[in-house]
């Protein structure tokens, strides 16, 4: 490994370790200190602080391992050192994503202290969206790790922009964080995963230059905007006065978003 790669490895390790370690520790501390009952049981909704983080942590590993071992550059797949490097970079991106979720209004206390299940759903799905965006950046051959960082940053920038636009256009954030509506959280979360997957696909492929990568990102990634528009319409049409009033409609819509994204990615075919 070259010096810059070693630096990237250490930086990713530090960011990932601090980010995810802090999240797991905080979850465990809050659970132990605040939510256990006198007889040692957890109060309803408690006890997921640490587990939530560990679950997300393993999910990230599973997705990234699969992509790195099957679709990464030809010199990365057989080399454990590089697989570890790109895996750790993925954890670092997902850790930063947890901070960026604040743009949407979500905060760590919503999950651990307030025990909001809808906030849990949003966290898992947003993490998955980030992993999809990062995984796409690892697909194809390229000259070095910096092109992966560039493509992943581009995909995440697109993801965050659409997340902020979605928050501005809708009252979904309020419905998730204050109403604790699990159906809406699932629907919005599926939309984020769909956007992450499309933007990940938009930055996937063999590296031919910064201009080409940026051009491909806009050329192939624009349908992600349609999901924000569609969800804005759905949020107005399927508005319910009740909390979880449209639980199954929202779940169904979320699955439709995912299927639409998968259909689009299959339609594009394998990245070149």
């Amino acid at each position: 490994m070259s010096e810059p790669e070693v630096f990237a490895l250490i930086a990713s390790l530090v960011v990932g370790f601090i980010g995810w370690g802090w999240l797991a520790t905080r979850g465990a501390m809050v659970d132990r200190r605040l939510w256990s009952t006198p007889d040692g049981r957890m109060r309803p909704g408690g006890g997921f602080g640490c587990l939530a983080t560990i679950f997300a942590w393993f999910s990230i590993g599973a997705v990234l391992f699969y992509v790195l071992l099957n679709f990464a550059a030809s010199d990365v797949k057989p080399d454990a050192k590089y697989v570890v490097l790109y895996l750790l970079m993925g954890y670092a991106f997902a850790a930063v994503n947890t901070i960026a979720l604040r743009l949407y209004g979500w905060k760590v206390p919503d999950m651990f202290e307030r025990r909001n299940r809808a906030a849990h759903t949003l966290f898992y799905t947003a993490t998955l969206a980030s992993v999809c965006a990062y995984a796409g950046a690892n697909i194809g051959d390229g000259p070095g790790f910096y092109v992966v960082i560039y493509c992943a940053a581009l995909a995440h920038l697109g993801l965050y922009t659409l997340v902020v636009v979605h928050a501005a256009l809708n009252r979904t954030v309020y419905r998730i964080l204050v109403d604790r509506d699990r159906g809406i959280a699932f629907r919005a979360g599926c939309m984020f995963v769909a956007i992450g997957a499309i933007l990940g696909r938009a930055v996937a492929g063999n590296w031919t230059g910064f201009d080409a990568a940026t051009g491909d990102f806009f050329r192939l990634g624009w349908p992600a905007v349609l999901f924000v528009i569609a969800d804005t319409v759905v949020a107005r049409v399927a508005l319910s006065r009740e909390i979880d009033g449209n639980l199954w409609v929202d779940r169904f819509t979320g699955v439709v978003y995912l299927l639409a994204a998968v259909g689009y990615i299959f339609m594009l075919g394998a990245p070149v």
């Binding site: 802090w22 520790t25 905080r26 501390m29 809050v30 200190r33 605040l34 939510w35 256990s36 009952t37 006198p38 109060r43 309803p44 909704g45 604040r102 209004g105 206390p109 919503d110 651990f112 202290e113 307030r114 025990r115 909001n116 309020y174 964080l177 204050v178 109403d179 604790r180 006065r241 009740e242 909390i243």
Partner: protein, 264 residues
């Protein structure tokens, strides 16, 4: 209006476990307990601390609860909020403590001990009351939550509330709540509580303020425009307070380095 009289309430076993104390103030059966903040309940008063005097809560006039179902937000200073909450419990409300501050090393900006002692002291009275599970909520806040200056080496435990700390207007209205009353003495509610009330108003839940000093009730008028909501949202993100990693607010203010750091 006074706290329940000791002579008429059955004697309860003293609560010696912090988590058991939380169970009394936030029983699992009450739907509003999901919003109660456990941060203060992780402490118990020192065994050798002086017993706290029962604080009677009085107001110039009866709290105007009228007909129909009300939810109450008690925004009174320090232990007065707890005393008021207990008085409301006598009238069939479920007090929901939202005190979200912690203790730590250094002088505290917001005094915690009186609140802990009052919650401990009030637990017996609360346990003696048979509050129905579907009782309307009375959310308890400390109006001094943002008062004070945090100097270096102090423990800055000033805190605030967010819309997520309360049930939504939709949740309140589906429980039959028709109106909201804020019990507060010193002028208009703080910006954090105001943003909660504003969101409730936008959802169709009107609120009024009752001043226990004068006995007056005033309808709260507020700007519900998108600009007001957005600016309040920004102030929620950049609040500048210290969140505690184990829950609640509170953190030590670092002492600046005494050395210049230049060449000797």
């Amino acid at each position: 209006m006074l706290l329940p009289d000791d002579s008429t309430s059955p004697r309860m076993k003293p609560v010696t476990d912090a988590r058991a104390l939380f169970e009394i103030w936030a029983p699992v059966a009450s739907p509003w307990s999901a919003w109660a903040k456990p941060a203060l309940f992780t402490y118990l008063p020192e065994a050798n601390s002086a017993p706290v005097e029962r604080i009677p809560w009085t107001s110039a006039g009866a709290v105007p609860l009228g007909s129909g179902r009300h939810a109450v937000v008690v925004d009174l200073p320090s232990v007065e909020g707890i005393a008021c909450g207990l008085a409301l419990a006598e009238r069939g409300f479920r007090p929901v403590p939202l005190y979200n501050l912690t203790q730590g090393i250094g002088k505290e900006v917001v005094a915690v001990d009186p609140l802990i002692a009052a919650l401990h002291e009030g637990a017996e009275s609360l346990q003696a009351l048979a509050i129905p599970d579907d009782a309307p909520p009375a959310f308890l806040l400390d109006s001094n939550r943002h008062v004070g200056v945090a100097a270096p080496s102090m423990f800055d435990n000033r805190w605030m509330v967010f819309p997520q700390d309360f049930p939504s207007a939709r949740a309140l209205m589906s429980a039959g709540i028709e109106r909201l009353l804020v019990i507060r003495r010193e002028g208009a509610p703080r910006v954090d509580l105001l943003s909660v009330l504003r969101l409730w108003r936008r959802e169709g839940l009107a609120s009024a303020r009752f001043d226990p000093a004068s006995g007056e009730t005033i309808d709260l008028a507020m700007d519900t425009s998108l600009l007001a909501v957005f600016s309040a949202h920004l102030s929620m993100i950049f609040h500048g307070l210290r969140e505690n990693a184990a829950g609640g607010f509170g953190g030590r203010v670092p002492v600046p380095q005494a050395t210049s750091g230049g060449f000797a």
